[in-house]
């Protein structure tokens, strides 16, 4: 077997607590499908037959009842971990280490993309890389986010990504938070790759192909707890460290301990001499201009595929969630109105709206650019624009909902006027209530 897929679905959604305090992030509906269905669909389309899903018990329960997830033809091996949130992604990998028999493809459940996965995996295969990841050019979110008063300056920290001039080899990766006093680049990197492009406007898709040796390395180094935060920068740095490249420093005691730690990382496969011979005899080099052989003799290599076209979105903030609800349905050729929905003829429905299953939409309603979840009831004379309505919601007559997110099982009273609001689970909005840019939850 070549690759095993691992889906990380235990995330808490810490940056959108308004949505996730009742529904776990993995089961948030996007275009009337649970969020984790999208990466599963991506894996299924590409040809995977089995996926290891790491998640919490809550999500596991929700998964077993969800129709869409039952539709997935792959074999889902669900591993549940504690919900206390102390377990990072790398800890989770350590937890399932006995199941891992070969190289892995790690995905996050909040990734929605239409990338051609073979681009990432081909880099991993062709260059015999230790890690290959996917990144995408970031897009500005243009929609107004409900519940936010005024334009919130994104205090998001920038990621600095350094690639070589082919744009494929990953040379440098650091987050702004870790760079206290400026960005420093080691001379050894500059000597080997004099041309480096540093990009900041990239979004990490949290899709990684890792060699099995990395998982073994994690079991020995228990201090690494997050893939993105610690493991990836570590691997990128390790490409250019001295012990990896030169075998002459075995006498140095410091390097010895480091070497012991890196031991599993540098495990060479059987027939290494044959591969060496093939590489020696091959007249290919990945760089020109200096005296070193291909890859500068380094055994640890990290590659990145940067997508510039197509959709690649991580749903970890409210703004992203809203944006994705607009874009995700365009990925699939499904009818925008579910066949079991009951829509009266005098309803004005825009072409980019989605109506879920078993809905009742009454007369004289206008639904534009919105997503309506399953089992919702929309009574007469309701205007819904630019909004996301989740499952089981009841909207009474005469309401006007604009740019809002209404969570599951909420009830909006008659004549309510909501603009850019976020209504939590199971909330009741009073009739004739007027709210603008409000976020009501847990009242």
């Amino acid at each position: 077997m070549e690759l095993q897929a691992v889906l990380m679905a235990a995330g808490g959604g810490s940056r959108m607590t308004d949505l996730t305090y009742n529904t776990p992030k993995a089961m948030l509906p996007v275009g009337n499908k649970p969020l984790m269905w999208y990466p599963l669909n991506l894996l299924e389309k590409v040809g995977f037959e089995e996926v290891i899903v790491i998640t919490t018990k809550e999500v596991q329960k929700a998964m077993s009842t969800d129709l869409k997830i039952k539709d997935v033809k792959m074999k889902l091996d669900v591993v549940s971990i504690q919900e206390d949130g102390d377990m990072g992604t790398a800890d989770a990998l350590r937890h399932i280490q006995p199941k891992i028999k070969t190289d892995i493809l790690v995905l996050s459940c909040d990734l929605i993309t239409d990338v051609a996965l073979h681009e990432v995996v081909d880099l991993f295969r062709a260059h015999n890389a230790t890690m290959a990841m996917l990144m995408s050019k970031a897009h500005e979110f243009t929609e107004t986010v409900p519940g936010q008063k005024g334009k919130k300056k994104t205090a998001e920290q920038r990621d600095f990504v350094g690639v070589d001039k082919s744009g494929k080899r990953l040379l440098f990766m650091a987050n702004e938070a870790d760079l206290e006093d400026g960005l420093s680049i080691r001379k050894s990197i500059m000597r080997k790759h004099p041309r480096m492009l540093i990009k900041t406007g990239l979004v990490d898709a949290h899709l990684y192909c890792l060699k099995k040796a990395v998982v073994d390395f994690l079991t020995e180094n228990k201090s690494i707890s997050s893939i993105r935060g610690e493991l990836v920068p570590y691997l990128v740095r390790k490409q250019f460290s001295k012990t990896v490249n030169s075998q002459k420093l075995k006498d140095d005691t410091d390097d010895q301990t480091q070497e012991k730690n890196d031991g599993p990382l540098l495990i060479s496969s059987r027939d290494e001499p044959l591969l060496q011979l093939a590489q020696e005899r091959s007249c290919w080099n990945d760089h020109r201009g200096d005296m070193s052989e291909a890859y500068h003799g380094g055994k640890l290599r990290c590659y990145v595929h940067i997508m510039d076209q197509g959709l690649c979105c991580r749903v970890n903030t409210l703004a992203a969630y809203i944006e994705v609800n607009r874009l995700a349905p365009k990925l699939f050729e499904e009818p925008s109105v579910h066949p079991s929905a009951d829509i009266s003829e005098r309803c004005q429905m825009g072409s980019d709206s989605i109506i879920g299953a078993v809905c009742h939409i009454a007369d004289k309603t206008s639904i534009k650019r919105s997503t309506i979840g399953n089992f919702t009831t929309v009574k007469e004379k309701v205007k819904v624009t630019n909004s996301i309505i989740m499952h089981g919601v009841t909207i009474e007559e005469g309401c006007n909902i604009q740019g809002s997110v209404i969570c599951s099982n909420a009830v909006i009273g008659r004549g309510a006027d909501l603009k850019y609001c976020l209504v939590g689970n199971g909330q009741h909005i009073e009739p004739e209530g007027k709210s603008t840019k409000n976020s009501s939850d847990r009242l």
């Binding site: 590409v46 996965l117 062709a126 015999n128």
Partner: protein, 548 residues
């Protein structure tokens, strides 16, 4: 004809049976008599047959034409004959039995024979007309051997140089479909890589692929149909990461080792037969990633031979170990030790002497090895590295030689006639040596050999014997490889002149990979068997075949 053996002249049969039952062997005379009588009977039957069948046809024709059945009147006459004859055959058999009860079995059997013959001839005729309709492919595909007594050898053109023939492409697609490994259902098959871009008309019979459309696009990602090691190898070939005849063969054998290690014999199958079938789709896959080289072809032949020579009583583990050892020894003998022998030969026979100025072209692993070894043995020489676009492999050769400490000069191929007066010897590597003495090597090699000949500079080709190939070729057009045309596009000072080349209808980009050098330009070939002239290649091949 099944009937004829059973039904026999009743009289003779009784006699023979009596003889057999009595336990006597039929004497020679009796046997001869039997034979003569059989022949006579046959002749009589045939005469009667023809008459009978003619009569029957005349009788039955009005019947069949009356019966509308499934014969539309617009059918051409050719096709009506075969359809009429089988119609008459079943009809005539009971009819003949009914009408001619006297001659009962012999008549019907003879009639059947005649009808069958007529049917076969009619089918043959219809095939001929069909072939005539579909065009002059008879010329390029299987040349029809005239039904003469000479029986000339029928040569079939390989499909990789018939890309402009749609029938051949269809056949290739079907072959790939059939080659899926047996345990996977028909949905998973080896994908067909499609050609890219406009092909220059002289070379339109060859494949031209684009690096941006890899074959892995059409494969499932945890690749199950093709072993992951082979997918990796295919990618490395198509990206050019593994390039060069020796490197490709070694990488191929390494991948085969992994395949053999992961192989388990299915139930009711023999390793010797099943493993060869397993390797076929992998080889088709690799061929599509990048056309196989002659050295790879020879390596594959060797492996297939070794696999099919495994005795059936051998246990699976033993067999696998044996195969792995075979591969190891093949690489060791034919590549590594051959390289050592060639270097020794070249250095000891003073082919590299002090004060020499040696010209090399491109990056040949063997030539680099020889030069490095000679330098280690303290010969004083300098090297001129000639390079050409778009691959610029000379830069890699330059790096390796300079790293050793050899003093080098670097020029592009356009300067070769300028630099040649300084040169004392030319060392060339080879991709393959053809059976008529031609040397197939990187494009540009024949130019260098030509110019060297004009300057009276000796040209030495270094080549291991496992690259010797049975093919015969006198020009570089018939069989070659077309690389990605986008490699020719270069950006200088911010502008890319060839950027939109696909949109220009009268512009074609040609990126050839190989060319052939005639033996007149090559003075010596250094192999591990010794130094031979170019024309002795067929002798070596013959000796090799005898050995095997």
């Amino acid at each position: 004809m099944a009937d004829s053996g059973v039904i026999d002249g009743p009289g003779r049969k009784d006699e023979i049976e009596r003889a057999k039952s009595e336990g006597k062997d039929l004497t020679k005379e009796e046997k001869q008599r039997l034979r003569k009588e059989k022949k006579q009977q046959k002749k009589i039957k045939e005469k009667k047959d023809d008459k009978a069948s003619q009569e029957n046809e005349k009788e039955k024709k009005p019947v069949t034409s009356a019966a509308p059945a499934s014969q539309p009147p617009t059918q051409p006459t050719v096709q009506k004959a075969p359809s009429a004859v089988p119609a008459t055959a079943p009809v005539s058999v009971p009819a003949s039995e009914a009408s001619v009860p006297a001659d009962k079995p012999t008549k019907t059997k003879a009639e059947l024979k005649a009808e069958r013959r007529a049917r076969q001839e009619a089918e043959r005729a219809s095939k001929q007309t069909k072939k005539g309709e579909t065009g002059q492919q008879a010329a390029t595909s299987k040349p029809k051997a005239p039904p003469s007594d000479l029986q000339p050898v029928v040569k079939r053109l390989p499909e990789h140089i018939q890309v402009d023939n749609p029938d051949v492409l269809k056949k290739l697609a079907k072959k790939l479909e059939r080659q899926q490994t047996p345990e996977h259902y028909a949905a998973k098959k080896i994908p067909l890589r499609s050609d890219y871009g406009y092909k220059v008309s002289l070379f339109s019979h060859l494949h031209q692929y684009s690096r941006k459309a890899p074959l892995t696009q059409q494969l499932s990602i945890p690749s199950t149909v093709i072993h992951p090691a082979i997918v990796r190898l295919g990618l490395q070939y198509s990206h050019g990461i593994v390039a060069g005849s020796n490197a490709r063969s070694v990488a191929l054998l390494h991948a085969f080792k992994q395949v053999i290690r992961d192989y388990t014999t299915p139930q009711n199958e023999e390793l010797s037969r099943d493993l060869v079938n397993k390797l076929k789709p992998y080889i088709s896959f690799l061929n599509q990633c990048r056309p196989l080289s002659a050295s790879m072809g020879n390596a594959i032949k060797y492996i297939k031979k070794e696999i099919s020579n495994i005795p059936s009583n051998c246990k699976e583990d033993e067999a696998k170990n044996k195969l792995l050892n075979c591969i190891e020894s093949y690489i060791n003998e034919k590549i590594i030790l051959a390289g050592v022998a060639i270097a020794k030969c070249a250095i000891e026979k003073q082919k590299i002497s002090d004060g020499d100025v040696i010209l090399v072209y491109g990056c040949s692993s063997l030539v680099n090895h020889i030069l490095c070894k000679a330098f280690e043995k303290n010969r004083k020489f300098r090297v001129i590295v000639v390079d050409s676009r778009p691959r610029l492999e000379g830069k890699e050769a330059l790096r390796r030689l300079v790293q050793k400490g050899i003093s080098c000069t670097y020029v592009l191929i356009s300067a070769v006639s300028y630099i040649l007066p300084e040169v004392s010897k030319v060392f060339l590597g080879a991709h393959a040596l053809l059976a008529n003495g031609y040397v197939m090597s990187r494009v540009g090699t024949s130019q260098i050999a030509l110019v060297a000949k004009a300057f009276n500079v000796p040209v030495l080709v270094c080549c291991e014997t496992y690259k010797f190939c049975d093919r015969v070729q006198t020009d570089s057009f018939v069989s070659n490889e077309l690389d990605d045309p986008d490699d020719l596009i270069v950006t200088r000072k911010g502008t890319t002149p060839l950027e939109g080349w696909e949109n220009e209808s009268s512009l074609g980009l040609l990126n050839l990979v190989y060319d052939v050098t005639p033996p007149d330009f090559v003075d010596l070939v250094i192999t591990e068997l010794g130094m031979i002239p170019c024309t002795s290649v067929p002798v070596v091949l013959r000796v090799k075949n005898v050995d095997q």
